[in-house]
Amino acid sequence: MRLNWLTQFAQIIVVLALAPLLTGVTRKIRSRLLRRRGASIAQPYCDLLKLIRKEVVVAENASWLFRAAPYVIFATTWVAAALVPTFAMGLPLGAAADMIVIVALLGTARFMLALAGLDVGTSFGGIGSSREMMFASLAEPAMLMAVFTLSLFAGSTELSSISSFMLGPHAGLNISLALALVALIIVAIGENARIPVDNPATHLELTMVHEAMILEYSGRHLAVIEAAASVKLLLYLSVIGCVFIPWGTAMAGANPIAYVIGFASYLLKLLLLGFLLSVFETAIAKMRVFRVPDFLGVALMLGLLGTMLLFVSKVPR
Protein backbone atom coordinates (compact mmCIF):
# COMPACT_ATOMS: atom_id res chain seq x y z
CA MET A 1 0.00 0.00 0.00
CA ARG A 2 2.77 2.41 0.96
CA LEU A 3 4.59 1.47 -2.21
CA ASN A 4 1.53 2.42 -4.22
CA TRP A 5 1.39 5.86 -2.69
CA LEU A 6 5.11 6.24 -3.27
CA THR A 7 4.56 5.35 -6.94
CA GLN A 8 1.74 7.88 -7.10
CA PHE A 9 3.93 10.69 -5.78
CA ALA A 10 6.78 9.69 -8.06
CA GLN A 11 4.34 9.76 -10.94
CA ILE A 12 3.11 13.25 -10.04
CA ILE A 13 6.69 14.51 -10.10
CA VAL A 14 7.65 12.55 -13.22
CA VAL A 15 4.87 13.87 -15.45
CA LEU A 16 5.75 17.43 -14.55
CA ALA A 17 9.48 16.90 -14.94
CA LEU A 18 9.25 15.07 -18.26
CA ALA A 19 6.64 17.26 -19.98
CA PRO A 20 8.94 20.11 -21.12
CA LEU A 21 11.52 17.53 -22.18
CA LEU A 22 8.93 15.85 -24.42
CA THR A 23 8.08 19.23 -25.97
CA GLY A 24 11.78 19.88 -26.50
CA VAL A 25 12.36 16.49 -28.09
CA THR A 26 9.45 16.81 -30.52
CA ARG A 27 10.65 20.28 -31.53
CA LYS A 28 14.17 18.95 -32.01
CA ILE A 29 12.99 16.04 -34.18
CA ARG A 30 10.85 18.37 -36.24
CA SER A 31 13.74 20.74 -36.83
CA ARG A 32 15.97 17.84 -37.82
CA LEU A 33 13.36 16.59 -40.29
CA LEU A 34 13.24 20.08 -41.79
CA ARG A 35 17.06 19.98 -42.01
CA ARG A 36 17.46 22.68 -39.40
CA ARG A 37 19.67 22.23 -36.39
CA GLY A 38 16.97 23.20 -33.90
CA ALA A 39 17.23 24.37 -30.30
CA SER A 40 18.55 22.13 -27.55
CA ILE A 41 16.05 19.68 -26.11
CA ALA A 42 16.40 21.48 -22.76
CA GLN A 43 15.19 24.74 -24.31
CA PRO A 44 11.60 24.49 -22.91
CA TYR A 45 13.02 24.32 -19.36
CA CYS A 46 15.08 27.46 -20.01
CA ASP A 47 12.02 29.19 -21.48
CA LEU A 48 9.98 28.36 -18.40
CA LEU A 49 12.74 29.62 -16.07
CA LYS A 50 13.07 32.83 -18.06
CA LEU A 51 9.32 33.45 -18.00
CA ILE A 52 9.09 32.80 -14.25
CA ARG A 53 11.80 35.39 -13.56
CA LYS A 54 10.11 38.03 -15.68
CA GLU A 55 7.68 40.68 -14.53
CA VAL A 56 3.96 40.03 -14.99
CA VAL A 57 2.13 42.61 -17.07
CA VAL A 58 -1.64 42.49 -16.74
CA ALA A 59 -4.11 44.48 -18.81
CA GLU A 60 -5.86 47.30 -16.95
CA ASN A 61 -9.35 45.89 -17.28
CA ALA A 62 -8.42 42.32 -16.37
CA SER A 63 -10.48 40.81 -13.57
CA TRP A 64 -9.43 38.33 -10.87
CA LEU A 65 -10.40 35.58 -13.29
CA PHE A 66 -7.54 36.51 -15.58
CA ARG A 67 -5.05 36.03 -12.76
CA ALA A 68 -6.62 32.87 -11.38
CA ALA A 69 -7.11 31.07 -14.70
CA PRO A 70 -3.47 30.01 -15.32
CA TYR A 71 -3.23 28.27 -11.98
CA VAL A 72 -6.57 26.49 -12.39
CA ILE A 73 -5.55 25.35 -15.88
CA PHE A 74 -2.22 24.11 -14.65
CA ALA A 75 -3.65 22.36 -11.59
CA THR A 76 -6.43 20.51 -13.43
CA THR A 77 -4.12 19.41 -16.24
CA TRP A 78 -1.48 18.25 -13.78
CA VAL A 79 -4.00 16.25 -11.74
CA ALA A 80 -5.37 14.68 -14.93
CA ALA A 81 -1.85 13.68 -16.01
CA ALA A 82 -1.17 12.19 -12.57
CA LEU A 83 -4.16 9.83 -13.03
CA VAL A 84 -2.71 8.06 -16.09
CA PRO A 85 -0.61 5.01 -15.25
CA THR A 86 2.64 5.89 -16.98
CA PHE A 87 5.35 3.54 -15.73
CA ALA A 88 3.49 1.55 -13.03
CA MET A 89 -0.05 0.31 -12.45
CA GLY A 90 -2.04 0.45 -9.27
CA LEU A 91 -2.04 4.19 -8.64
CA PRO A 92 -4.21 4.99 -5.59
CA LEU A 93 -5.56 8.14 -7.22
CA GLY A 94 -6.21 6.24 -10.45
CA ALA A 95 -8.54 3.91 -8.59
CA ALA A 96 -10.53 6.91 -7.39
CA ALA A 97 -10.85 8.59 -10.76
CA ASP A 98 -11.40 7.02 -14.19
CA MET A 99 -11.02 8.22 -17.77
CA ILE A 100 -14.24 10.18 -17.68
CA VAL A 101 -12.81 12.23 -14.82
CA ILE A 102 -9.73 12.91 -16.94
CA VAL A 103 -11.93 14.18 -19.78
CA ALA A 104 -13.84 16.34 -17.30
CA LEU A 105 -10.65 17.79 -15.81
CA LEU A 106 -9.37 18.68 -19.27
CA GLY A 107 -12.77 20.19 -20.05
CA THR A 108 -12.48 22.38 -16.94
CA ALA A 109 -9.05 23.56 -18.04
CA ARG A 110 -10.39 24.41 -21.48
CA PHE A 111 -13.35 26.28 -19.99
CA MET A 112 -11.03 28.42 -17.87
CA LEU A 113 -8.73 29.08 -20.81
CA ALA A 114 -11.63 30.21 -23.00
CA LEU A 115 -12.93 32.48 -20.21
CA ALA A 116 -9.47 33.96 -19.75
CA GLY A 117 -9.27 34.62 -23.47
CA LEU A 118 -12.54 36.54 -23.32
CA ASP A 119 -11.77 38.35 -20.06
CA VAL A 120 -9.58 41.16 -21.29
CA GLY A 121 -11.88 41.91 -24.17
CA THR A 122 -9.39 42.02 -27.02
CA SER A 123 -10.59 40.75 -30.37
CA PHE A 124 -7.85 38.10 -30.68
CA GLY A 125 -8.75 36.51 -27.37
CA GLY A 126 -12.39 36.42 -28.44
CA ILE A 127 -11.58 34.79 -31.77
CA GLY A 128 -9.38 32.23 -30.07
CA SER A 129 -12.00 31.38 -27.47
CA SER A 130 -14.82 31.03 -29.96
CA ARG A 131 -12.72 28.79 -32.22
CA GLU A 132 -11.56 26.71 -29.28
CA MET A 133 -15.16 26.15 -28.25
CA MET A 134 -16.15 25.26 -31.82
CA PHE A 135 -13.43 22.60 -31.95
CA ALA A 136 -14.14 21.42 -28.42
CA SER A 137 -17.80 20.78 -29.19
CA LEU A 138 -16.60 18.03 -31.55
CA ALA A 139 -13.35 16.94 -29.90
CA GLU A 140 -14.80 16.33 -26.47
CA PRO A 141 -17.64 14.00 -27.56
CA ALA A 142 -15.14 12.24 -29.84
CA MET A 143 -12.84 11.66 -26.88
CA LEU A 144 -15.77 10.41 -24.82
CA MET A 145 -16.88 8.02 -27.57
CA ALA A 146 -13.35 6.61 -27.78
CA VAL A 147 -13.39 6.21 -23.99
CA PHE A 148 -16.76 4.43 -24.18
CA THR A 149 -15.45 2.08 -26.85
CA LEU A 150 -12.44 1.18 -24.74
CA SER A 151 -14.53 0.84 -21.60
CA LEU A 152 -17.11 -1.42 -23.25
CA PHE A 153 -14.32 -3.52 -24.65
CA ALA A 154 -12.35 -3.84 -21.42
CA GLY A 155 -15.31 -3.74 -19.05
CA SER A 156 -13.99 -0.82 -17.03
CA THR A 157 -13.57 2.93 -17.34
CA GLU A 158 -10.47 2.91 -15.22
CA LEU A 159 -7.20 3.24 -17.10
CA SER A 160 -5.12 0.68 -15.25
CA SER A 161 -7.87 -1.95 -15.61
CA ILE A 162 -8.09 -1.22 -19.35
CA SER A 163 -4.32 -1.44 -19.61
CA SER A 164 -4.22 -4.76 -17.72
CA PHE A 165 -7.04 -6.10 -19.89
CA MET A 166 -5.06 -5.22 -23.00
CA LEU A 167 -2.11 -7.19 -21.62
CA GLY A 168 -4.35 -10.16 -20.85
CA PRO A 169 -5.20 -13.07 -23.12
CA HIS A 170 -8.70 -11.89 -24.01
CA ALA A 171 -7.79 -8.78 -25.95
CA GLY A 172 -7.18 -9.49 -29.61
CA LEU A 173 -7.20 -7.52 -32.80
CA ASN A 174 -10.53 -5.78 -33.00
CA ILE A 175 -11.79 -3.25 -35.48
CA SER A 176 -13.34 -1.17 -32.69
CA LEU A 177 -9.95 -0.83 -31.00
CA ALA A 178 -8.41 0.37 -34.24
CA LEU A 179 -11.20 2.94 -34.65
CA ALA A 180 -10.77 4.11 -31.05
CA LEU A 181 -7.03 4.47 -31.59
CA VAL A 182 -7.43 6.62 -34.68
CA ALA A 183 -10.12 8.71 -32.95
CA LEU A 184 -7.84 9.26 -29.95
CA ILE A 185 -4.94 10.27 -32.17
CA ILE A 186 -7.07 12.81 -34.05
CA VAL A 187 -8.40 14.23 -30.78
CA ALA A 188 -4.87 14.38 -29.38
CA ILE A 189 -3.66 16.32 -32.42
CA GLY A 190 -6.61 18.71 -32.24
CA GLU A 191 -6.48 19.24 -28.49
CA ASN A 192 -2.77 19.90 -28.34
CA ALA A 193 -2.92 22.46 -31.14
CA ARG A 194 -0.56 20.43 -33.33
CA ILE A 195 -0.07 21.11 -37.02
CA PRO A 196 -3.04 20.19 -39.17
CA VAL A 197 -5.29 21.98 -36.68
CA ASP A 198 -3.17 24.75 -35.23
CA ASN A 199 0.51 25.60 -35.38
CA PRO A 200 2.12 25.87 -31.94
CA ALA A 201 5.08 27.80 -33.31
CA THR A 202 3.31 30.64 -35.04
CA HIS A 203 1.58 33.89 -34.26
CA LEU A 204 -0.07 34.20 -37.63
CA GLU A 205 -3.19 36.00 -36.60
CA LEU A 206 -5.69 34.45 -39.00
CA THR A 207 -5.00 30.86 -38.07
CA MET A 208 -4.02 30.77 -34.44
CA VAL A 209 -6.33 29.33 -31.82
CA HIS A 210 -4.40 28.41 -28.71
CA GLU A 211 -1.90 31.25 -29.04
CA ALA A 212 -4.71 33.76 -29.56
CA MET A 213 -6.25 32.98 -26.19
CA ILE A 214 -3.02 33.38 -24.25
CA LEU A 215 -1.83 36.44 -26.14
CA GLU A 216 -2.35 38.75 -23.16
CA TYR A 217 -0.39 36.63 -20.71
CA SER A 218 3.17 37.26 -19.65
CA GLY A 219 5.69 36.33 -16.98
CA ARG A 220 4.86 33.53 -14.58
CA HIS A 221 1.26 33.31 -15.82
CA LEU A 222 2.51 32.47 -19.29
CA ALA A 223 5.08 30.06 -17.83
CA VAL A 224 2.35 28.17 -16.00
CA ILE A 225 0.15 28.00 -19.11
CA GLU A 226 3.06 26.79 -21.26
CA ALA A 227 3.86 24.14 -18.68
CA ALA A 228 0.22 23.06 -18.67
CA ALA A 229 0.30 22.75 -22.47
CA SER A 230 3.38 20.51 -22.26
CA VAL A 231 1.77 18.37 -19.56
CA LYS A 232 -1.33 18.03 -21.73
CA LEU A 233 0.71 16.70 -24.66
CA LEU A 234 2.43 14.25 -22.32
CA LEU A 235 -0.96 13.20 -20.96
CA TYR A 236 -2.41 12.34 -24.36
CA LEU A 237 0.68 10.44 -25.44
CA SER A 238 0.68 8.60 -22.11
CA VAL A 239 -2.97 7.60 -22.49
CA ILE A 240 -2.33 6.25 -25.99
CA GLY A 241 0.82 4.47 -24.80
CA CYS A 242 -0.85 3.04 -21.71
CA VAL A 243 -3.85 1.64 -23.59
CA PHE A 244 -2.42 0.60 -26.95
CA ILE A 245 1.23 -0.15 -26.10
CA PRO A 246 0.75 -1.54 -22.59
CA TRP A 247 3.84 -3.75 -22.56
CA GLY A 248 6.55 -3.14 -20.00
CA THR A 249 4.51 -1.20 -17.46
CA ALA A 250 5.27 -2.38 -13.91
CA MET A 251 2.43 -4.20 -12.15
CA ALA A 252 1.35 -3.09 -8.69
CA GLY A 253 3.63 -4.50 -6.01
CA ALA A 254 6.30 -5.77 -8.39
CA ASN A 255 9.98 -5.84 -7.52
CA PRO A 256 12.16 -2.74 -8.04
CA ILE A 257 13.65 -4.08 -11.27
CA ALA A 258 10.16 -4.16 -12.80
CA TYR A 259 9.78 -0.51 -11.91
CA VAL A 260 13.05 0.35 -13.60
CA ILE A 261 11.97 -1.60 -16.69
CA GLY A 262 8.59 0.14 -16.55
CA PHE A 263 10.23 3.54 -16.45
CA ALA A 264 12.59 2.73 -19.31
CA SER A 265 9.75 1.39 -21.44
CA TYR A 266 7.70 4.51 -20.67
CA LEU A 267 10.52 6.72 -21.91
CA LEU A 268 10.79 4.58 -25.03
CA LYS A 269 7.04 4.82 -25.69
CA LEU A 270 7.12 8.61 -25.30
CA LEU A 271 10.08 8.87 -27.64
CA LEU A 272 8.39 6.66 -30.23
CA LEU A 273 5.07 8.53 -30.08
CA GLY A 274 6.82 11.90 -30.09
CA PHE A 275 8.81 10.84 -33.13
CA LEU A 276 5.67 9.68 -34.96
CA LEU A 277 3.95 12.95 -34.07
CA SER A 278 6.85 14.98 -35.46
CA VAL A 279 6.96 12.97 -38.67
CA PHE A 280 3.21 13.41 -39.11
CA GLU A 281 3.51 17.12 -38.49
CA THR A 282 6.24 17.64 -41.05
CA ALA A 283 4.43 15.53 -43.63
CA ILE A 284 1.14 17.42 -43.55
CA ALA A 285 0.07 20.99 -44.23
CA LYS A 286 -2.02 23.02 -41.84
CA MET A 287 -5.69 22.97 -42.80
CA ARG A 288 -8.06 25.87 -43.00
CA VAL A 289 -9.86 26.66 -39.75
CA PHE A 290 -13.21 25.78 -41.26
CA ARG A 291 -11.93 22.38 -42.37
CA VAL A 292 -11.05 21.49 -38.79
CA PRO A 293 -14.63 20.59 -37.75
CA ASP A 294 -14.64 18.04 -40.60
CA PHE A 295 -11.36 16.59 -39.33
CA LEU A 296 -12.59 16.36 -35.75
CA GLY A 297 -15.98 15.16 -36.97
CA VAL A 298 -14.17 12.15 -38.42
CA ALA A 299 -12.86 11.39 -34.93
CA LEU A 300 -16.39 11.58 -33.55
CA MET A 301 -17.65 9.37 -36.36
CA LEU A 302 -14.92 6.79 -35.75
CA GLY A 303 -15.65 6.73 -32.04
CA LEU A 304 -19.36 6.26 -32.68
CA LEU A 305 -18.69 3.56 -35.27
CA GLY A 306 -16.31 1.78 -32.91
CA THR A 307 -18.93 1.67 -30.17
CA MET A 308 -21.57 0.38 -32.58
CA LEU A 309 -19.37 -2.29 -34.11
CA LEU A 310 -18.63 -3.61 -30.62
CA PHE A 311 -22.20 -4.86 -30.51
CA VAL A 312 -21.61 -6.89 -33.67
CA SER A 313 -18.31 -8.40 -32.72
CA LYS A 314 -18.20 -10.84 -29.90
CA VAL A 315 -16.55 -9.17 -26.95
CA PRO A 316 -14.19 -11.69 -25.39
CA ARG A 317 -15.12 -12.40 -21.80
Binding site: G172, I175, A178, P293, G297, V298, L305, V312
Partner: protein, 224 residues
Protein backbone atom coordinates in the same frame (compact mmCIF):
# COMPACT_ATOMS: atom_id res chain seq x y z
CA UNK B 1 -10.35 -21.42 -36.17
CA UNK B 2 -8.00 -19.96 -33.57
CA UNK B 3 -8.74 -16.64 -31.98
CA UNK B 4 -6.01 -14.78 -33.87
CA UNK B 5 -7.25 -16.12 -37.20
CA UNK B 6 -10.82 -15.05 -36.55
CA UNK B 7 -9.54 -11.71 -35.21
CA UNK B 8 -7.77 -11.03 -38.49
CA UNK B 9 -10.88 -11.98 -40.47
CA UNK B 10 -12.93 -9.66 -38.28
CA UNK B 11 -10.42 -6.85 -38.68
CA UNK B 12 -10.40 -7.16 -42.46
CA UNK B 13 -14.20 -7.25 -42.73
CA UNK B 14 -14.48 -4.28 -40.37
CA UNK B 15 -11.93 -2.35 -42.40
CA UNK B 16 -14.25 -2.65 -45.40
CA UNK B 17 -16.86 -0.61 -43.53
CA UNK B 18 -14.19 1.90 -42.53
CA UNK B 19 -12.91 2.31 -46.09
CA UNK B 20 -16.52 2.75 -47.25
CA UNK B 21 -16.75 5.70 -44.89
CA UNK B 22 -13.46 7.06 -46.20
CA UNK B 23 -14.96 6.85 -49.70
CA UNK B 24 -17.91 8.91 -48.52
CA UNK B 25 -15.52 11.43 -46.97
CA UNK B 26 -13.42 12.03 -50.08
CA UNK B 27 -14.35 14.99 -52.19
CA UNK B 28 -11.52 14.84 -54.71
CA UNK B 29 -11.67 12.65 -57.77
CA UNK B 30 -8.20 11.07 -57.57
CA UNK B 31 -8.42 10.49 -53.82
CA UNK B 32 -11.75 8.81 -54.41
CA UNK B 33 -10.23 6.49 -57.02
CA UNK B 34 -7.29 5.66 -54.75
CA UNK B 35 -9.59 4.83 -51.88
CA UNK B 36 -11.68 2.68 -54.16
CA UNK B 37 -8.55 0.73 -55.06
CA UNK B 38 -7.84 0.33 -51.33
CA UNK B 39 -11.43 -0.84 -50.83
CA UNK B 40 -10.96 -3.54 -53.44
CA UNK B 41 -7.59 -4.57 -52.01
CA UNK B 42 -9.05 -4.94 -48.51
CA UNK B 43 -11.84 -7.01 -50.04
CA UNK B 44 -9.28 -9.19 -51.80
CA UNK B 45 -7.36 -9.74 -48.57
CA UNK B 46 -10.57 -10.48 -46.70
CA UNK B 47 -11.73 -13.02 -49.28
CA UNK B 48 -8.26 -14.54 -49.49
CA UNK B 49 -8.15 -14.92 -45.72
CA UNK B 50 -11.57 -16.57 -45.81
CA UNK B 51 -10.33 -18.94 -48.49
CA UNK B 52 -7.46 -19.90 -46.23
CA UNK B 53 -9.72 -20.33 -43.19
CA UNK B 54 -12.42 -22.32 -44.98
CA UNK B 55 -9.91 -24.33 -47.06
CA UNK B 56 -11.87 -23.25 -50.12
CA UNK B 57 -9.56 -22.82 -53.11
CA UNK B 58 -12.23 -21.34 -55.35
CA UNK B 59 -12.39 -18.33 -53.07
CA UNK B 60 -8.76 -17.59 -53.93
CA UNK B 61 -9.94 -17.06 -57.51
CA UNK B 62 -12.53 -14.59 -56.28
CA UNK B 63 -9.84 -12.78 -54.29
CA UNK B 64 -7.57 -12.69 -57.29
CA UNK B 65 -10.35 -11.29 -59.47
CA UNK B 66 -11.06 -8.61 -56.90
CA UNK B 67 -7.40 -7.67 -56.58
CA UNK B 68 -6.68 -7.66 -60.28
CA UNK B 69 -9.83 -6.16 -61.75
CA UNK B 70 -11.16 -3.90 -59.05
CA UNK B 71 -7.89 -3.16 -57.31
CA UNK B 72 -5.77 -2.36 -60.35
CA UNK B 73 -7.40 -2.31 -63.77
CA UNK B 74 -10.62 -0.42 -63.08
CA UNK B 75 -9.04 2.31 -60.92
CA UNK B 76 -6.31 2.88 -63.49
CA UNK B 77 -8.85 2.98 -66.33
CA UNK B 78 -11.09 5.36 -64.40
CA UNK B 79 -8.07 7.49 -63.60
CA UNK B 80 -7.36 7.87 -67.29
CA UNK B 81 -10.96 8.59 -68.12
CA UNK B 82 -11.12 11.24 -65.42
CA UNK B 83 -8.01 12.91 -66.78
CA UNK B 84 -9.35 12.79 -70.31
CA UNK B 85 -12.73 14.15 -69.28
CA UNK B 86 -10.96 16.92 -67.37
CA UNK B 87 -13.09 16.51 -64.26
CA UNK B 88 -10.26 15.99 -61.75
CA UNK B 89 -11.60 18.71 -59.52
CA UNK B 90 -13.97 18.78 -56.57
CA UNK B 91 -17.02 16.58 -56.60
CA UNK B 92 -20.14 18.41 -55.75
CA UNK B 93 -22.14 16.32 -53.32
CA UNK B 94 -25.85 17.00 -53.10
CA UNK B 95 -25.66 16.68 -49.31
CA UNK B 96 -22.48 17.96 -47.66
CA UNK B 97 -20.00 15.60 -46.02
CA UNK B 98 -21.03 15.98 -42.39
CA UNK B 99 -24.70 14.96 -42.81
CA UNK B 100 -23.66 12.24 -45.29
CA UNK B 101 -21.37 10.67 -42.69
CA UNK B 102 -24.12 10.89 -40.07
CA UNK B 103 -26.54 9.21 -42.48
CA UNK B 104 -23.91 6.55 -43.08
CA UNK B 105 -23.58 5.86 -39.36
CA UNK B 106 -27.36 5.57 -39.12
CA UNK B 107 -27.25 3.04 -41.97
CA UNK B 108 -24.58 0.99 -40.18
CA UNK B 109 -26.80 1.01 -37.11
CA UNK B 110 -29.74 -0.09 -39.24
CA UNK B 111 -27.84 -2.97 -40.77
CA UNK B 112 -26.71 -4.15 -37.33
CA UNK B 113 -30.27 -3.97 -36.00
CA UNK B 114 -31.59 -5.86 -39.02
CA UNK B 115 -28.86 -8.48 -39.29
CA UNK B 116 -28.32 -9.54 -35.68
CA UNK B 117 -31.84 -10.88 -34.94
CA UNK B 118 -32.16 -12.51 -38.35
CA UNK B 119 -28.92 -14.47 -38.08
CA UNK B 120 -29.42 -15.56 -34.49
CA UNK B 121 -28.80 -19.22 -35.26
CA UNK B 122 -25.54 -18.68 -37.14
CA UNK B 123 -22.03 -18.63 -35.75
CA UNK B 124 -20.56 -15.39 -34.41
CA UNK B 125 -18.33 -14.86 -37.39
CA UNK B 126 -21.03 -15.25 -40.05
CA UNK B 127 -23.22 -12.84 -38.12
CA UNK B 128 -20.68 -10.04 -37.97
CA UNK B 129 -19.57 -10.66 -41.53
CA UNK B 130 -23.12 -10.32 -42.82
CA UNK B 131 -23.70 -7.20 -40.74
CA UNK B 132 -20.52 -5.63 -42.13
CA UNK B 133 -21.45 -6.65 -45.66
CA UNK B 134 -24.91 -5.14 -45.41
CA UNK B 135 -23.35 -1.92 -44.09
CA UNK B 136 -20.99 -1.77 -47.05
CA UNK B 137 -23.89 -2.33 -49.46
CA UNK B 138 -25.99 0.39 -47.84
CA UNK B 139 -23.05 2.80 -47.79
CA UNK B 140 -22.58 2.14 -51.50
CA UNK B 141 -26.20 3.03 -52.09
CA UNK B 142 -25.75 6.18 -50.03
CA UNK B 143 -22.76 7.13 -52.15
CA UNK B 144 -24.81 6.69 -55.34
CA UNK B 145 -27.60 8.82 -53.94
CA UNK B 146 -25.52 11.68 -52.59
CA UNK B 147 -23.16 12.13 -55.52
CA UNK B 148 -24.09 13.76 -58.77
CA UNK B 149 -20.96 13.02 -60.71
CA UNK B 150 -21.22 9.96 -62.95
CA UNK B 151 -17.77 8.62 -62.08
CA UNK B 152 -18.34 8.79 -58.33
CA UNK B 153 -21.70 7.10 -58.78
CA UNK B 154 -19.98 4.25 -60.59
CA UNK B 155 -17.52 4.01 -57.70
CA UNK B 156 -20.45 3.92 -55.30
CA UNK B 157 -21.94 1.06 -57.27
CA UNK B 158 -18.70 -0.87 -57.33
CA UNK B 159 -18.16 -0.47 -53.60
CA UNK B 160 -21.70 -1.79 -53.18
CA UNK B 161 -20.75 -4.80 -55.27
CA UNK B 162 -17.68 -5.33 -53.07
CA UNK B 163 -20.10 -5.58 -50.16
CA UNK B 164 -22.05 -8.30 -51.99
CA UNK B 165 -18.89 -10.32 -52.56
CA UNK B 166 -18.05 -9.93 -48.87
CA UNK B 167 -21.48 -11.27 -47.93
CA UNK B 168 -21.14 -14.18 -50.35
CA UNK B 169 -17.79 -15.27 -48.90
CA UNK B 170 -18.97 -15.01 -45.31
CA UNK B 171 -21.78 -17.52 -45.88
CA UNK B 172 -20.14 -20.95 -45.97
CA UNK B 173 -20.63 -23.58 -48.61
CA UNK B 174 -21.49 -21.38 -51.54
CA UNK B 175 -20.11 -23.07 -54.61
CA UNK B 176 -21.49 -20.45 -56.96
CA UNK B 177 -19.43 -17.67 -55.48
CA UNK B 178 -17.00 -17.58 -58.35
CA UNK B 179 -19.75 -17.42 -60.93
CA UNK B 180 -21.56 -14.69 -59.06
CA UNK B 181 -18.39 -12.73 -58.72
CA UNK B 182 -17.60 -13.03 -62.42
CA UNK B 183 -21.18 -12.08 -63.24
CA UNK B 184 -20.93 -8.92 -61.25
CA UNK B 185 -17.55 -8.13 -62.72
CA UNK B 186 -19.17 -8.18 -66.13
CA UNK B 187 -21.81 -5.84 -64.82
CA UNK B 188 -19.07 -3.52 -63.70
CA UNK B 189 -17.38 -3.72 -67.06
CA UNK B 190 -20.74 -2.72 -68.49
CA UNK B 191 -20.81 0.30 -66.26
CA UNK B 192 -17.28 1.21 -67.17
CA UNK B 193 -18.41 1.23 -70.78
CA UNK B 194 -21.13 3.51 -69.52
CA UNK B 195 -18.43 6.02 -68.73
CA UNK B 196 -17.56 6.14 -72.42
CA UNK B 197 -21.17 7.02 -73.03
CA UNK B 198 -20.60 9.92 -70.70
CA UNK B 199 -17.71 10.97 -72.88
CA UNK B 200 -20.19 11.33 -75.68
CA UNK B 201 -22.19 13.37 -73.28
CA UNK B 202 -19.38 15.87 -73.37
CA UNK B 203 -21.75 17.71 -75.60
CA UNK B 204 -23.42 18.77 -72.41
CA UNK B 205 -19.99 20.02 -71.28
CA UNK B 206 -20.47 18.11 -68.04
CA UNK B 207 -20.91 14.71 -66.45
CA UNK B 208 -23.07 16.25 -63.79
CA UNK B 209 -26.18 14.16 -64.01
CA UNK B 210 -28.41 17.17 -63.47
CA UNK B 211 -27.79 17.93 -67.08
CA UNK B 212 -29.76 14.78 -67.82
CA UNK B 213 -32.70 16.03 -65.82
CA UNK B 214 -32.86 19.01 -68.09
CA UNK B 215 -32.97 16.92 -71.21
CA UNK B 216 -35.73 14.88 -69.63
CA UNK B 217 -37.64 18.07 -69.09
CA UNK B 218 -37.82 17.71 -65.31
CA UNK B 219 -36.20 20.83 -63.95
CA UNK B 220 -37.06 23.06 -66.82
CA UNK B 221 -38.06 25.96 -64.60
CA UNK B 222 -35.48 26.74 -61.92
CA UNK B 223 -32.08 25.59 -63.11
CA UNK B 224 -32.29 26.46 -66.78
Amino acid sequence: MTSLESDIAHLLAGSMVLVSFLLLYQDRMFALLNFFAIHACVLAFSVGWQAYLQRAPHLFITALIALLFKGVIIPVALHRIVVRLGIHRTIEAVVSIGPTILLGIALVGLSIIVMLPVTQAEGAFVREDLAFALSVVLLGFLMMITRRNAVSQVIGFMSLENGLVLAATGARGMPLVVEISVGFSILIAFLVVGIFLFRIRERFDTVDLQALDMSRGETSGESA
